[in-house]
């Protein structure tokens, strides 16, 4: 399937329909990965914003750094330490959710403690990792790279895409309702605790799946900035979701393709987030102007 897509791209390049850069296999992989990362993070981000869990997405993103370090130390391939990455991020997110239900500490403070812990462990382990591998590879983990996306990553993202779409089709209404009023949702006999666990699990899985393109430091930002911008532009929940998906996908595509096209030596993560920030500036300007017009 992937070979077919690569062949198709080659033909389009040969026919002059696509720029020369699409003759590189790694760029096609990054392009395909981005087409899935954008909608997924954009859609999940709306729930992150409605639930006020921006800090959680940051924390889970940063925990990926620790997962990568553990993976490399345990001898996993440097370009794909998937087992440790998935295992640590899921463990991190699930433990956080479990502790939340068993302590009186406010959730934001609890996330702060977990974030600090994950960062401290990650930073300490990175020192060891840096001695074993090329420091440039560590940089790729932190800020993402278009060079690293391979077939396996595309398959993982495709599975995540289908899983999230399936869950969203069946449960998104009650998930949004639980974000607005957990009590009303519970009165409908919906298991809101289970919803919360699944949501946090999805955040962890998506973060890990996107970390190679966007990087551990900035992956949480693509969950947050498009949805925060969409909140300013939207008139209802449907348009908020559509705006968020549009902003996340366009930012991800621009962040991957523009530096390559213009031959700028900018990692994909920062490029994607800068594009998303431009959207945020547009959204906040439009919101301020419309507010001023009402006055």
């Amino acid at each position: 399937m992937l070979d077919l897509i690569h062949t198709l791209f080659s033909q389009l390049v040969t026919a002059g329909w696509l720029p020369e850069m699409f003759s590189y296999g790694f760029l096609i992989n990054a392009f395909l990965a981005t087409l899935m990362i954008g909608p997924l993070l954009g859609a999940l981000g709306t729930l992150v914003v409605v639930k006020r869990l921006a800090f959680l997405s940051e924390a889970v993103g940063h925990s990926a750094l620790t997962g990568v370090s553990i993976g490399i130390l345990l001898g996993e391939p440097i370009s794909a330490p998937w087992i440790s990455l998935f295992a640590f991020s899921i463990l991190f997110a699930m433990t956080l959710q479990w502790v939340k239900g068993r302590t009186a500490v406010p959730y934001d403070a609890l996330i702060g403690v977990f974030l600090s812990f994950a960062l401290a462990v990650g930073a300490a382990l990175l020192m060891f990792v840096a001695k074993q591998v090329n420091a440039h590879l560590v940089e790729q983990v932190l800020f993402g790279s278009i060079l690293t996306a391979n077939e396996q990553d595309i398959v993982i993202l495709a599975v995540m895409f289908m899983l999230t779409l399936g869950l969203a089709l069946r449960f998104s209404n009650k998930a949004f309702l639980a974000a607005l009023s957990p009590e009303i949702t519970q009165s409908l006999r919906v298991k809101t605790k289970l919803h919360d666990y699944v949501f946090v699990l999805l955040i962890a899985l998506m973060t890990v799946a996107a970390v190679k393109i966007i990087g551990a430091v900035l992956v949480g930002a693509l969950l947050l900035i498009p949805a925060a911008s969409a909140r300013l532009l939207a008139t209802n929940l449907q348009t908020m979701l559509l705006w968020s998906i549009l902003i996340a996908t366009s930012s991800a595509l621009a962040g991957v393709l523009l530096p390559m096209y213009l031959q700028w030596a900018v990692p994909t993560g920062p490029a994607i987030i800068l594009c998303a920030c431009l959207w945020f500036i547009v959204a906040i300007t439009r919101f301020s102007l419309s507010k001023a017009a009402v006055r």
Binding site: S172, N173, L180, S181, S187, R231, T235
Partner: protein
């Protein structure tokens, strides 16, 4: 204003409303006892006013009834048929952010539909009819957080009643609502109750409990009294305790 009457409400209501029983129910949260040893039965089709001082455990009683706070003792719903019916719930002054783009229509679709709110734009006929009946169609596209208290309560009650509940639990539904708004809400509840449904309503205004409820349950950390509103009031006057009586003002 007519509340939507489903076929179920007309034909089966007498047989679907449950008998509710509290048996020595206590609620303890973070080492403090919010409710202790409540034993109470509520017959099908009764409108119960739950009264008592602030912090006395009225809302806790409702939440225990919903099963959203852990409790000791037993709360049982005895449903006449094989299947459990629905319970409608309107929480106390539910706050919604004014900048959050969640409209009245979004909210009703989230409550009533399984099909994603982002998937199909046209709402189902039941929601449209419900909005018409509750006189909220004009602000279907307004954000929840920008509604007045009365409008918001009407939306929440509409959402609760469109599920055709057999029991409606209301936690201070009239708080912050102006006089005309209160009248509208009470009229909705009266019609709903007239169909043979049970209402359990936390209420601070004694005259409303006296006028509308068949029974009053006085809660002050425990069940102090339960009877007709007039008899509960009388027993209060006989055992005049200024702290307990203060809520009557």
């Amino acid at each position: 204003m007519n509340i939507p009457v489903s076929a179920k409400a007309i034909t089966q209501k007498e047989t679907t409303t449950p008998h509710i029983a509290f048996d020595k129910v206590s609620v303890k949260v973070n080492q403090s006892v919010l409710l202790s040893d409540v034993t109470l039965t509520i017959d099908p089709g009764t409108w119960v006013g739950v009264v008592g001082p602030n912090g006395g455990g009225k809302s806790t009683l409702i939440k225990a009834l919903l099963g959203i706070v852990p409790h000791r003792g037993t709360i049982s719903y005895t449903w006449p048929g094989k299947h459990k019916g629905n319970i409608g719930y309107v929480p106390q002054l539910a706050p919604f952010e004014s900048t959050l783009p969640v409209t009245v229509l979004d909210y009703l679709r989230m409550v009533l539909e399984d099909r994603p709110v982002w998937w199909r734009h046209k709402p189902n006929q039941r929601i449209l009819q419900g909005m018409e009946n509750f006189d909220i169609r004009d602000f279907a596209d307004k954000r929840l957080g920008t509604l007045s208290t009365g409008e918001r309560q009407r939306v929440l009650i509409c959402g609760a009643l469109l599920q055709s509940p057999d029991v409606l639990l209301l936690d201070e539904p009239l708080a912050g609502v102006d006089k005309s708004g209160q009248q509208r809400l009470l009229e909705i509840m009266k019609q709903y109750h007239a169909q043979g449904n049970t209402i359990i309503m936390v209420e601070h205004h004694w005259h409303i409990v006296e006028q509308y409820c068949q029974r009053a349950a006085l809660i002050d950390g425990t069940l102090v009294a339960v009877d007709t509103p007039q008899k509960v009031l009388l027993s209060l006057q006989e055992h005049a305790d200024p702290l307990t009586l203060s809520y009557r003002q």
